[in-house]
């Protein structure tokens, strides 16, 4: 043991990051203690585990799955049934460890379905996962005894003995700390996994499956193992979701859920370990916050996703990591004016686009009932007249012009600063 420890350099930056992460998790409820915020943070935490487990497949092993909700969803179903048994008193088991049950269930279904899906890679793999996802989705409605039919299976998380005689998981704050603890453990475990032989060989299989076969690795076995491990963490997130919402329905195993995790993992960035965590936060903002503000939120989400895929395939994490050489050379502030111009241009465009979208939605859905005048950004706007549309067109035009200018400025400044950094590095 001593030899291995001696050769593992103690990485201070890593300690700072992990203890910072733990501190943020502990401190967040002090800043956001309203019930709504707590529920939202619980949801984001479970989605973080889910999207990190998804990225074990997509980003780290090159496996595009369209059916990852199968593992989180079935994990959630098993967990909810176990929770109901605890509630009835037929089973003695601490609720605190229920996510472990969900995880083992997720891993079990990984063993079962993964045996089929991981026989193939690439597009055939994606197709089979889609098929398995549909299969499980259909089964959820065919077997109401287990899946609870349309209404799902509801439960009561205040079950069994209270932890230390105090923690019943009745108050939302206790659920928050349960999610936070599991999030920290799972994140650490999934990060540790990336630094193991299997984690690295998964990267090798992603880059070049053929060559991996010629250095002694059976790529099918690698994919299978990765899927089982990923299924475990998906199951953990499913169980946490079941505890948080106290209900599990067919929506939990649906293709929509699978698509959502794909969407937000990609937006967060698949190329870096922490990318999916950013995606999960954005998920909270979009699905929970934006959806309560506007009916057009799906439209915004779709637009955002398309723009990210087209202009920023590395996701938000990729954008952040691009700034690292600048930060390291302490020259990031030189980019700020051009970035500020870009943000301003995007804000103007967003204003025009969102106003147009809201007016369209109003015109299509509500104008016939409530008349042509709506309240938009505190102003009365008549959606039936030409004037507001012309104004929007003008604003959009200005936004596009500004964006073009910002793009030139950013490119120019980027090339200059990066060029100087590179030249400095060579001396």
């Amino acid at each position: 043991m001593s030899t291995t420890v001696r050769f593992t350099p103690l990485n201070p930056a890593r300690w700072v990051i992990w203890s910072g992460f733990a501190l943020v998790l502990i401190a967040l409820p002090l800043a956001f203690h309203q019930g709504f915020a707590l529920t939202l943070m619980c949801q984001i935490g479970t989605i973080m585990i889910f999207s990190l487990s998804f990225n074990m497949l997509l980003g780290q092993a090159g496996m595009l799955s369209f059916g990852h909700a199968v593992y989180s969803g079935l994990g959630a179903y098993i967990a909810v049934h176990v929770l109901n048994m605890i509630d009835k008193g037929t089973l003695m088991f601490p609720v605190t460890l229920l996510p472990l049950v969900g995880g083992l269930a997720g891993a079990f279904f990984g063993v079962l379905f993964g045996y089929v899906t991981t026989k193939k890679s690439g597009t055939p793999f994606a197709m089979i996962t889609l098929g398995i996802g549909e299969l499980v989705g259909a089964m959820a409605l065919m077997f109401p005894d287990f899946f609870g039919g349309e209404g799902g299976v509801s439960t009561n998380r205040v079950a069994g003995k209270a932890l230390l005689g105090l923690i019943t998981y009745g108050p939302q704050i206790q659920v928050y700390y349960l999610v936070a603890a599991w999030l920290f453990i799972c994140t650490a475990a999934m990060y540790a996994y990336t630094q193991t032989p299997l984690g690295r060989i998964a990267n090798a299989v992603r880059d070049n499956p053929e060559r991996a076969e010629f250095i002694g690795y059976e790529t099918q076995r690698v994919r299978y193992l990765v899927l089982i491990i990923s299924g475990f963490f998906a199951g953990v997130s499913g169980a946490l979701g079941a505890i948080n919402f106290e209900i599990v329905s067919s929506e939990n195993v649906s293709a929509i859920r699978s698509g959502t995790v794909l969407l937000f993992t990609f937006i967060g960035g698949v190329g870096f370990f922490f990318g999916p965590m950013i995606g999960a936060v954005l998920f909270g903002l979009f699905i929970v916050v934006l959806a309560t503000i506007t009916k057009a939120w799906l439209l915004y989400l779709g637009l955002f996703f398309v723009l990210m895929v087209m202009y920023c395939p590395g996701g938000i994490a990729g954008l952040i990591m691009m700034q690292m050489p600048l930060l390291r050379a302490r020259r990031f502030k030189e980019m700020l004016p051009s970035y500020a111009l870009g943000v301003a241009a995007a804000a103007v465009l967003l204003l025009a686009l969102s106003a147009a979208a809201e007016m369209l939605y109003y015109h299509a859905l509500e104008a016939s009932a409530s008349g042509p005048t709506m309240v938009l950004f505190g102003m009365n706007v008549n959606v039936a007249s030409f004037t507001p549309w012309l104004v929007l067109l003008a604003i959009a035009g200005a936004g596009f012009a500004l964006l073009g200018l910002a793009r030139r400025k950013v490119t120019e400044c980027w090339n200059r600063v990066m060029g100087e950094i590179m030249a400095g590095g060579l001396q």
Partner: protein, 261 residues
């Protein structure tokens, strides 16, 4: 008599009705450096693909150190001690040079599919990978992404990945393809160094490389070996001259890729 390191017995391969390899028999003793030459389309790369398990045989058998490996998968053949390189560079582009080599030593060191070892704690894997980096002259490029290396460096890495696992039988598919004269001289030195004490089988177009390295040469023409002999005897062989060398030796340098299916 001790078993040959690699023995092919009447190996045949057809794609549909087209016979590419038409009965190749060849025994390569341990420690020999053996070159396979032949005109474009003769089936040299196909033969490598058969031996390394990339393609299945139509008929015949292949024995590795006396053990029948016919029909085994690439990873099974690799685990039995045969490693190959590729004519078109086949590396892990998004991993660093060091990670490329370390991946190649993990299986032979017994770490298999482990997710309970921390890579950075595996001293033997790191030391072995660093030895290989030193050997192939890429120590200074340790932390560079493999996809960003120059062509010659990628070729060196390709050889590094091939030999890293410590296989006793090494197959190199056109290791100097696309290299300049000085680069290929350098590559010959590297090959000599890294295959010391091992059995080497190589496909090569560059005649100066072949005659400089090989103990014996086999000439493959239209899927059949027309001669296997020492370099001097091959040079003097009339059938070989007619079939192949007459055109190519005067140019000295094969200038195009092998067009095998």
């Amino acid at each position: 008599m001790s078993a040959a390191a690699l023995e092919l017995a009447d190996v045949r391969k057809a794609f549909g009705k087209t016979a590419i390899i038409r009965g190749v028999s060849l025994a390569i003793p341990p420690g020999e450096r053996h070159a396979i030459i032949g005109p474009n389309g003769a089936g040299k790369s196909t033969l490598f693909n058969l031996v390394s398990g990339r393609f299945g045989l139509s008929s015949g058998s292949i024995r590795l150190k006396g053990e029948d490996v016919t029909g085994l998968k690439p990873f099974e053949i690799n685990r039995k001690g045969l490693s190959r390189s590729f004519q078109i560079t086949n590396i892990f582009h998004n991993l660093t040079v060091f990670e490329n080599i370390r991946c190649a030593v993990l299986w032979p060191l017994g770490y298999k599919y482990s997710f309970w070892h921390a890579l950075n704690g595996l001293r033997d894997a790191r030391e072995r990978a660093d030895e290989i980096l030193e050997l192939i002259g890429l120590k200074g490029r340790r932390q560079v992404k493999a996809g960003l290396l120059t062509y010659a460096e990628q070729r060196a890495l390709e050889i590094g990945i091939t030999i890293a696992g410590g296989a006793e039988v090494i197959l190199l598919d056109e290791p100097t393809a696309g290299m300049s004269r000085s680069e290929s001289d350098h590559a010959v030195e590297l090959i000599r160094k890294v295959t010391a004490g091992k059995t080497l089988v190589m496909v090569e177009h560059d005649m100066s490389v072949v005659f400089g390295l090989a103990d014996r040469i086999s000439v493959l023409v239209y899927g059949e070996i027309i001669a296997t002999d020492t370099p001097q005897n091959i040079r003097a062989n009339r059938a070989v001259q007619e079939a192949y060398l007459g055109t190519s030796v005067s140019h000295g340098h094969g200038d195009e890729g092998d067009g095998d299916a």
